[in-house]
């Protein structure tokens, strides 16, 4: 009798063990599947339900260029400052001559809702993605540089020299125009842009402007922010604080 009791006890234990291990396996696999989806990006096209934007607080920008460095590293830029070097983010320093107040800010493609670069492009290479990111389709770009002249922010660069050892996710080449892509290769797999990630003060807030509950929308609702050259009516996706 005691034997059977022991037996049934063992089988009960075994059953319990099996149940727990199956559960544990499920718990272990589920995030893995999620990670797979995240790492490999979406299978559907981007939609207008999302509009990516950034809110940049310039309070701590004075002695820091970590965003520029991170951008150069992520996108394989040389980091040179000559007129023919590509610069996707520039550190701009401003000084009010009357009051003497000075400030610095990172200036890059503002990802306008009404982008002038797209208006002037003769080939359709300059385009705005459904989620608001303004890009150059370098397969169509003929290097005419109209967009560079049209951009009020001087955000675009032309590649003058042949390039080597580009990053697999960021193809770049001679003869076409390029600019900040809001790190589209990262955004599409659920990450945030390199500059936002690298900012030591969390001064670059990246998020969905179309979602009223996103952190960026909440902050923009409660705190003052400005568009650079708001008078042009371009409805920029990047907003600044403290300028």
């Amino acid at each position: 009798m005691s034997d059977t009791n022991e037996m049934s006890g063992t089988s009960e234990q075994r059953r319990q063990f099996l149940k727990t291990s199956v559960g544990a396996a499920a718990v272990a696999i589920a995030p893995g599947m999620l990670m797979f989806d995240m790492a490999h990006g979406k299978t559907e096209a981007v939609s207008g339900k999302v509009r990516w934007g950034m809110l940049i607080n310039t309070a701590n920008c004075a002695d820091c260029d970590k965003c520029v460095k991170a951008c150069n590293k992520e996108n394989g830029l040389s980091g040179g400052l000559s007129p023919t070097d590509s610069q996707w983010i520039r550190k701009v320093e401003l000084k009010d001559l009357r009051t003497g107040r000075s400030l610095a800010l990172p200036m890059m493609c503002q990802h306008c809702a009404e982008p002038p670069c797209v208006d002037v492009c003769p080939t359709g290479a300059s385009f705005k993605r459904a989620d608001g990111i303004v890009l150059v389709d370098k397969h169509i770009c003929i290097g005419c540089r109209y967009c560079m002249m049209a951009c009020p922010y001087k955000a675009r660069s032309f590649v003058h020299e042949p390039l080597h050892d580009q990053k697999p996710d960021v193809p770049r080449g001679k003869g076409v125009v390029e600019s900040c892509t809001m790190c589209v290769q990262r955004v599409d797999v659920g990450k945030i842009p390199a500059c936002a990630e690298a900012c030591p003060n969390k001064s670059i807030l990246f998020g969905n402007l179309n979602d009223p509950n996103s952190e960026i929308s909440n902050k923009m609702r409660t705190e003052a922010s400005t568009q650079v050259r708001a008078d042009l009516g371009l409805d920029t996706g990047l907003r600044y604080q403290g300028i």
Partner: protein
């Protein structure tokens, strides 16, 4: 007068025609035989070439370094004809619609499997996976002026000499 002449001519020519027919028949038979023999020889050469490992019996086709290889996303015969079409389609979907998953025809995928195991690249040598055929066909590849021709993580570390 004309009529008479025509008739006599007709009589003579009919026998000539018969002789010619025979001659023609012989020539045609000989030619067909030669053609068939030639065809047989050709097919033998082709099958020999195939068994020795080069591609589909074409002359002078390059032997390619297919890198890691393995299961291609589609049969190689189909890919030879259509790779550029599927690459263009996926390219447009990725650039304009941000679709980065589910598409098996990405350039990065090609390079990942087919970059050479000796130099991690699909271009640069006469037997490189992309360059080999493109040199043979005299078609310029623009892809790698901008895109990386190398595997993201090198499979083989260079052996120090």
């Amino acid at each position: 007068m004309n009529l008479l002449c025509d008739q006599s001519d007709g009589m003579a020519s009919s026998s000539l025609r018969r002789a010619l027919h025979l001659d023609l028949l012989v020539t045609v038979t000989v030619r067909v035989t030669i053609f068939l023999v030639a065809l047989l020889c050709l097919s033998n050469i082709a099958s020999a070439a195939e068994s020795s490992g080069s591609v589909a019996g074409s002359y002078g086709m390059p032997k390619l370094d297919i890198g890691k290889g393995g299961h291609c996303v589609a049969p190689p015969e189909w890919m030879r004809i259509n790779h550029m079409k599927v690459l263009f389609k996926q390219r447009d979907e990725t650039v304009h619609q941000g679709i980065r998953a589910g598409g098996k025809y990405s350039l990065e995928n090609c390079v990942e499997c087919h970059a050479s195991l000796s130099d991690n690249s699909v271009i640069g040598r006469p037997d490189s996976f992309c360059e080999g055929c493109h040199r043979y066909e005299a078609v310029k590849i623009d892809c790698f002026e901008c895109h990386s021709s190398k595997r993201s993580v090198a499979l083989v570390q260079e052996v120090p000499k």
